[in-house]
């Protein structure tokens, strides 16, 4: 009961926020809404028993990645070119095509989804799954884990390289 209430509450907030994020005019507002969105999504994760993932979502996604967005907006102050460009009619046609495609596709998907049997569902919510996740990550996922560090390294290096001040002898 409580779970259902919480879920539908969070889901409706998330739906509204998701739509708002992509439709508002100002990037700052969008980022702020996205923060809320991610925060409430963490709530959904918690509802699903993924406490650790929920916290990670808050720490990294809401607490770090979106700070980055915020900073970029602050640095660039890009509200000057906010007007939407492009051929309205063409955009509308494509928009409806994609939307219809998604709708159609989702119907098909739910139609074809094999229903979960009772045995599939493990209803017990794992308590203290931090430990379990840790074990699994460090034992079964060693290589992805080490590769993740490489990915981070790559991220650091390329971000610094890209955002460096453009040098004087630019070719183009």
């Amino acid at each position: 009961m409580g779970e259902a209430i919480s879920f539908y509450f969070l889901a409706s907030i998330l739906t509204v926020l998701s739509i708002a994020v992509v439709t508002v005019q100002k990037p700052v507002v969008a980022v702020a809404l996205l923060v809320f969105n991610l925060f409430f999504l963490a709530g959904v994760y918690a509802l699903l028993g993924a406490h650790f993932i929920a916290v990670i979502q808050v720490i990294i996604y809401a607490g770090a990645i979106l700070v980055l967005f915020m900073f970029v907006i602050m640095i660039l102050n890009p509200d000057m070119d906010l007007k939407e460009t492009g051929d309205k009619g063409k955009k509308f046609i494509l928009f409806s095509a994609v939307s219809v495609g998604f709708l159609f596709f989702s119907f098909k998907m739910f139609e074809q989804m094999a229903p979960l049997t009772k045995e599939d569902i493990v209803s017990e919510i794992l308590e203290d799954n931090t430990y379990e996740i840790g074990l699994q990550l460090f034992e079964d996922y060693i290589w992805p884990f080490e590769l993740a560090s490489l990915l981070i390294l790559l991220g650091i290096v390329s971000a610094i390289l890209i955002s460096r001040k453009p040098s004087q002898n630019k070719s183009v």
Partner: protein, 649 residues
């Protein structure tokens, strides 16, 4: 990590370290890396061989990973260590290490050497792949790899057009052989369904009768493999690249074009001996081809003036011996000669390298002479090398060459002729080697004043390896003393027993090769040995006497007298020109013709037409290539949806 992996990975590691990672300006660092890599490989190979030969009954297959798995074709990365391959491993890494050390001295005038050493290490790695591969494809990787390294090293000083062309020539000529190899591989797979040497060996050794079709295809495989061996081991029609390959640095000539790579053909034939035994007619071809090559190359070597060219033709000639040895069924003898030749020819090349180094990269013997007193150490070891190659009794070359000649004599029908040519060749060899020696080291120095002033003995890093090789050249022959002598002095023939497990005669072939088992009288063998030795001594004497006063004197008279023959020989029987006229020029002309007809009119027309058509149609459709990122993305997403919808039905 087992010994095999270590053996293989050290040279590769050295190559990667030198060529890709360090790229060091420091010559010392580059050399240390590559010498260390090679030495480590040598020691690993030593342990590996010891391990396999003592603990695994001389045969072990290392299965590292699976590689190609397609239907019935299964080619794993597996490696075979048996007496033959461990012998090759030791030759390659051992002599390779010495040459690596030597190269440091020889290349000391270069600006950077990391590229050179990286290539050398890569070569060693490829060569190791070639000799340890358990199936045709691994061997083929090595086969192509050594070809590549050879190309890279021949044209190491690629700034000069000549060197680049020489590399190209080696590469292209080798391609002809490689085609043979590839077709042989295809045919093998078609016929036997496997590419593994051991499997093939088991199949063939245990079958008592073979169908006609099987026999034909075996003969064809052998023939194709012979083509491959001709390319790599510089046999008669395809030998032309080897003399030109001398354009590379001398250590390269020593390592690749004398000691190791060019012997790959002999190695391969020995590895496939069970095939060759089943194709006696092809064996005859092999024997004749080897014999002719040996003689032919020796005659050319008689008159060459470039010190490295002489050695190159000598190499071709010695390879001819080896191939002849294989052809008459004496694979063991061929490999034995391979071993001794690797030692003394490496020694000779490196010695020649020292001479060239001391003479400031002059290679013409006519400008040398009298180096005995300038380069005493080099002279001493070089002399030992000369004695070894011409086959003075007691030196290593004597035993191996004699073994081959004896095996050749026993060959039915054409055997005596082979022997006669072989003996003649031995005489020629003695002549031209003594000629080389005399012209280089004896008499007066003929170089110009400036050069003469700067001749000095090479550093220890260069003559040290030479000393080791000289030791080997003199004594390595005692591992395979022929039975007749061995019985006399009480030294058994280790080598024959050593290779016995590798060279097995299929049951189906035994009747054709009964003469190998026949007993021959010792007296006959002594007689033949005596004859050939006297030929050698005669040749040596002539060579020494003709040239002991330099290029003038008797040799000049002879040259005048037989001027046409001399010219013919100096121009190497006009083989290069022959090829040029018969193959290259017509090919070029035909290409020109085809280019004019097909390329310009048909193909260009077609392609331009297509292009024009596309231009028109793309102009029509370029509205959708707006360059707009998101427009593309939209179509991408729509495409994905259609695709998914297709699967979800």
């Amino acid at each position: 990590m087992n010994w095999l992996e270590m053996t293989l990975c050290f040279p590769l590691l050295g190559a990667i370290l030198n060529g890709l990672i360090l790229r060091s300006e420091s010559k010392t660092l580059a050399q240390i890396v590559s010498v260390t890599a090679c030495f480590l490989a040598f020691f690993s190979a030593l342990f590996l061989s010891y391990d396999v030969l003592t603990h695994h009954e001389g045969l072990k297959v290392y299965h590292l990973a699976s590689w190609i798995e397609a239907g019935s074709l299964s080619v794993p990365f597996s490696f075979l260590i048996d007496p033959l391959s461990s012998l090759m491993l030791l030759i390659i890494t051992g002599i390779g290490s010495l040459i690596h050390i030597y190269a440091g001295g020889y290349m000391s005038h270069e600006k950077t050497t990391y590229r050179f050493f990286a290539y050398l290490n890569l070569f060693v790695f490829m060569m190791l792949l070639l000799v340890t591969g358990e199936n045709f494809l691994i061997m083929f990787i090595g086969w192509e790899g050594v070809g590549l390294c050879s190309y890279l090293l021949i044209s190491y000083w690629f700034e000069e057009d000549k060197n680049a062309k020489a590399g190209m020539k080696a590469f292209l000529v080798n391609r002809i052989g490689d085609i043979g190899f590839l077709f042989a591989v295809f045919l093998t797979f078609k016929q036997f369904g496997t590419l593994s040497f051991l499997d093939l060996k088991n199949i063939l050794l245990n079958s008592h009768t073979l169908t006609q079709e099987m026999q034909n295809s075996i003969a064809l495989i052998c023939l194709l493999m012979l083509v491959a061996a001709c390319g790599k081991s510089a046999q008669l029609p395809l030998y032309v690249w080897l003399p030109d390959a001398m354009a590379g640095p001398t250590p390269v000539s020593a390592l690749i074009h004398a000691a190791t790579m060019v012997t790959a053909g002999v190695y391969m034939m020995t590895r496939l001996s069970f095939f060759y035994f089943l194709a006696p007619q092809i064996m005859t071809v092999v024997a004749v081809l080897g014999c002719l090559t040996a003689f032919f190359a020796a005659t050319i070597a008689l008159v060459q003036n470039d010190i490295k060219k002489v050695l190159a033709y000598s190499t071709v000639s010695q390879l001819g011996y080896m191939v002849m040895g294989c052809g008459v069924g004496g694979f063991g003898a061929g490999v034995f000669h391979l071993l001794t030749h690797a030692c003394f020819k490496a020694l000779l090349f490196l010695g020649a390298g020292s001479v060239i180094f001391a003479m400031h990269h002059k290679q013409d013997m006519m400008e040398m002479g009298g180096l005995k007193k300038y380069l005493p150490k080099t002279h001493a070891v070089f002399l030992l090398g000369v004695l070894a190659i011409i086959g003075v009794p007691g030196f290593s070359g004597f035993f191996s060459k004699d073994e081959i000649l004896w095996k050749a004599f026993n060959y039915p029908v054409i055997g005596p002729y082979l022997w006669a040519f072989g003996t003649l060749t031995a005489g020629c060899t003695a002549f031209y080697m003594l000629r080389l020696y005399t012209l280089t080291f004896c008499g007066e120095n003929r170089s110009d004043h400036h050069t003469k002033k700067h001749i000095e003995e090479t550093p220890v890093i260069m003559w040290g390896p030479l000393a080791v090789l000289a030791f080997l050249s003199v004594f390595i022959g005692f591992v395979g003393v022929p039975a007749v002598i061995g019985d006399l002095v009480g030294i058994p023939n280790f080598f024959e027993h050593y290779l016995e497990p590798v060279i097995k005669m299929p049951h189906a072939a035994e009747e054709n090769w009964h003469f190998l088992r026949d007993h021959h009288s010792h007296a006959l063998e002594w007689t033949l040995m005596g004859t050939s030795t006297s030929f050698v001594l005669l040749g040596a004497l002539l060579g020494f006497n003709f040239y002991k006063r330099g290029p003038k004197g008797i040799s000049l008279i002879l040259k005048k007298k037989f001027s046409r023959t001399h010219k013919f020989l100096t121009n190497k029987y006009y083989v290069d020109e022959f090829y040029e006229n018969i193959f290259v020029t017509p090919l070029q002309e035909m290409s020109q013709f085809l280019w004019k007809i097909f390329d310009l009119i048909f193909i260009n027309g077609f392609i331009n037409g297509v292009g024009r058509g596309l231009m028109i149609s793309s102009a029509l459709s370029s509205w959708k290539n707006s360059g707009g990122l998101q427009t593309y993305a939209v179509f991408f997403v729509l495409g994905c949806l259609v695709f998914l919808g297709f699967f979800l039905k």
